[in-house]
């Protein structure tokens, strides 16, 4: 080898070598480079990030399936969770597909590589979380990230692990926080350049939230941004007393990235304790916000807080949807956001400027938004001890974590919606003890017990229903609505051929005409969908994938 170091290759040799490299890269498709992630729109056969692209529109340029031929969709294969933990029934991961291989996570944290055409398993990486893991709301995972030949997954016991995408073998494993204190990773990581970015859930345990970037090769931490500022930092004074120490503002959904500004955008969760704000006087920055960070340093460029001093558990973790559109007659780089608090927002994603905000469901805790987008609170609309206060939207929000979609073709923004939904918000005392629930009360339903359970629904529309609502971003007005009877926990996928895919809690998987909301096809998949669908193609055939219950289903046009 030492001799080679001194050898000077001729120009001809270099040209030949370069040609070999190019040809090899062209045939193997082995490496998922960061450049490929940035240009994922241009290779719609693959689904390379949680939301499809770093702009997170959950929109595909695949056009084989259309509203006209969708009736020919039929099931291709099913993967049934072979988890060692039968109690885990929420299969929340959006799969990735890279060059014919699908990567997903069966709950809680087993990574599985499948043949995307047949569903046969290449390998499984079993991961047993520590007994001390205490994710608040289910032992779930929403997917992996890929870069090069490496997969990345956060675990419910607070680890970030890197795996060999060819074998499933472990490469590195770092710990972000103590699981016994409530630190849990549930979202799919985001890749930016040579970094993998994640943050912990734990907003019900009084964690101090943060985002951190790790070197993809070594797992070494590169930067960390606390979503609850410490003493001396801007925003620190938005927390009364020592409340910042247990302020929450967790991370539990994947962020977005704009290469032009080199900003990465993330939504943050609720302040702690959730339903009792008495001891955290102030706005509680940066809870319930979108933060725009310099991707290289983790420094805050701007923030926008949707729900200052939240007392309703209105996590703002929704995926930031980025788009370049015409706004008031000129091109503008914007961000769309349908928030759990019931408002739909349009922000300038370069500056954070508030451009538009309008309720997309009934809202009674705020009478509207002021000129800067700050909610105008309604007096008395705050959680109370005892019987509580009736608030719209209810505790699960007008929407929640399941992804919306933006179609550049129709220009519409599609929201998985809980309509007519309300809760009684009850305030109770909260004392912080590490690892114990630090919630300060909770929601009471306004409907009779058992009204929606185990696939049985007795509810009326007045008691709440699920819907896909299509919003015109320029005005925030609803263009159409697709109603279900039960509420929905399914995200939305759109394609350039004007097909919208979504599931729900009723056990159906729907294809709608994205222009009108008319259903064009449905399949019975038997359980509730707790994820956001995706699409890919192999061998010239487009597939669409969705989970229901503890199974992953794929569909394609009948041949």
């Amino acid at each position: 080898m030492s001799a080679m170091k001194t050898m000077k290759p001729s120009a001809t040799t270099l040209r030949v070598l370069a040609l070999i490299v190019l040809l090899t890269a062209g045939t193997l498709h082995a490496q998922v480079s960061f450049d490929r992630l940035l240009r994922a729109n241009d290779e719609p056969n693959n689904w390379l990030t949680y939301s499809g692209t770093t702009f997170s529109q959950r929109h595909s340029r695949l056009t084989q399936i259309t509203p006209e031929n969708a009736t020919r969709l039929e099931m291709q294969w099913v993967y049934q969770v072979a988890t060692r933990e039968p109690s885990s029934t929420k299969f929340e991961a959006t799969p990735l597909v890279a060059d014919g291989v699908m990567y997903t996570v069966q709950p809680p944290n087993d990574v599985v590589a499948l043949d995307a055409v047949t569903g046969r398993v290449f390998w499984t990486h079993p991961y047993t979380p520590a007994q001390t893991a205490r994710p608040c709301c289910g032992r779930v995972n929403r997917g992996v990230a890929i870069l090069g030949d490496t997969l990345f997954m956060g675990t419910i016991d607070g680890h970030l692990i890197a795996l060999d995408a060819k074998t499933g073998r472990s490469i590195w494993d770092v710990v972000l926080g103590k699981p016994e204190a409530g630190y849990a990773l549930t979202h799919a990581p985001l890749i930016v350049k040579n970094m993998v970015i994640v943050g912990p859930a734990g907003g019900e345990y009084g964690i101090r939230g943060f985002l951190a970037a790790f070197d993809v090769k070594t797992g070494k931490e590169i930067w960390r941004f606390y979503t609850v500022p410490g003493p001396g930092e801007p925003g620190f004074n938005s927390w009364g007393g020592d409340s910042w120490k247990t302020g929450g503002a967790p991370i539990w959904m994947t962020g977005s990235y704009d290469p032009e500004s080199n900003l990465t955008y993330w939504g943050t969760g609720n302040p702690g304790p959730d339903w009792n704000g008495d001891n955290r006087e102030g706005d509680n920055l940066y809870s319930d916000s979108v933060v725009a960070l310099d991707a290289d340093t983790g420094k805050l460029k701007w923030h926008f807080q949707f729900s200052p001093h939240d007392e309703f558990d209105y996590d703002s973790v929704q995926v930031p949807v980025l788009a370049d559109i015409a706004w008031l007659g000129r091109p503008r780089k914007v961000m769309f956001w349908a928030n759990r608090n019931g408002f739909f927002y349009v922000l300038d994603r370069v500056t954070g400027e508030f451009l538009l905000g309008k309720p997309f469901v009934e809202v009674n805790w705020a009478s509207g938004l002021d000129a800067k987008g700050r909610p105008i609170r309604v007096a008395g609309m705050t959680p109370q001890p005892g019987t509580g206060t009736l608030i719209s939207p209810g505790n699960q929000g007008g929407t929640n974590w399941y992804s919306p979609s933006f179609s550049p073709v129709t220009g519409l923004f599609y929201i998985p919606t809980w309509a007519n939904y309300k809760s009684l918000y009850v305030k109770q005392p909260a004392t912080y003890v590490e690892g114990r629930t630090f919630a300060g009360g909770g929601p009471r339903p306004t409907t009779p017990p058992g009204i929606r359970a185990n696939g049985v629904n007795f509810a009326t529309d007045q008691e709440g229903y699920g819907a896909v609502r299509a919003i015109e971003p320029a005005t925030g007005t609803m263009k159409w609505e697709f109603k279900m009877s039960d509420v929905t926990t399914s995200g939305i996928l759109t394609t350039a051929s004007n097909v919208l895919f979504t599931g729900g809690r009723e056990g159906y998987f729907y294809a709608l005409d994205a222009r009108t909301g008319s259903p064009v096809w449905k399949a019975t998949i038997g359980g509730k969908t707790d994820m956001s669908p995706m699409t890919y193609a192999v061998g010239g055939r487009q597939y669409v994938a969705v989970t229901s219950g503890s199974s992953l289903f794929t569909f394609a046009l009948r041949q």
């Binding site: 969760g269 009850v426 003890v433 114990r436 630090f438 909770g442 409907t447 058992g450 509810a459």
Partner: protein
Amino acid sequence: MQRSHVLGCSALLAAVTTVIAGGGRTVAAQHEPTAADIQNGQRLFQDNCVGCHGPEGDLIAGVALKSGRFRRAASDAEVASIIIKGIPSTGMPPNPFTEDQASTIVAYLRSSSPGAPVGNGTTAAPAVRSLGSPITGNTIAGQAIVEGKGKCLSCHQVNGVGSRLGPDLSDVGTRALRPPASGGVELERSLVEPDAVVAASNRYVRVVTSDNKTLTGRLLNHDRVSVLFLDTNERLVSLQKASLREFTIVEKSAMPSYATTLTVQERADVVSYLATLKIRSQPQ
């Protein structure tokens, strides 16, 4: 908070330092719970469970820990086991309690239930609410009214006799001990004001078909596409909503009020009889 619906009782940490006397054995299994056991259980409950279940144990819909009845457990040992092991597929996580500790929590919950011993250890009277009526009912006369004049069995069943359309009354006497928030019934009130509390599972549905037939029955399920119900002829019916002219979920009770059709004494008789119905008998 990420997830829908319920949170589990927060897990106990090693930081819990409450010492329970007599370690190594199950309190309930070894002796009747003492006042100290109940006090310890109360402390553990307040420290670890109220965050999700609330101080009255009823913050989670359909779960009333102080009702004296548990959906998933019959015995105290089973309740203690659930506290320790959690409930899969729900927000109720495992908790690192000792059996003793879990047993004291059960003892505390039992001590707070309506049928719990009070004062000198006598059992409290069954909480059959009678809207303040001082009249004592006659159970035999009540049974005759239920099976005769009241025509109750035209909609209800008692131990296999009667109709399936309404709620089965075979064990209504036990449900009468539970607070309404956890599915209990107030018998007298239900007779007089049947619309006051209607369980979701007792709703009716009314549909008009494309050929103008009106059908009613007990709603069993519905979604965007279809509606399932037990019709008045006790047939299981599934209809496509798209084929219907009308579809209405009837939130009011299908039962008539007995405020005027039965006397105060007759209602007291009926309530007394229903309160005796506690065990669903097996078919012979």
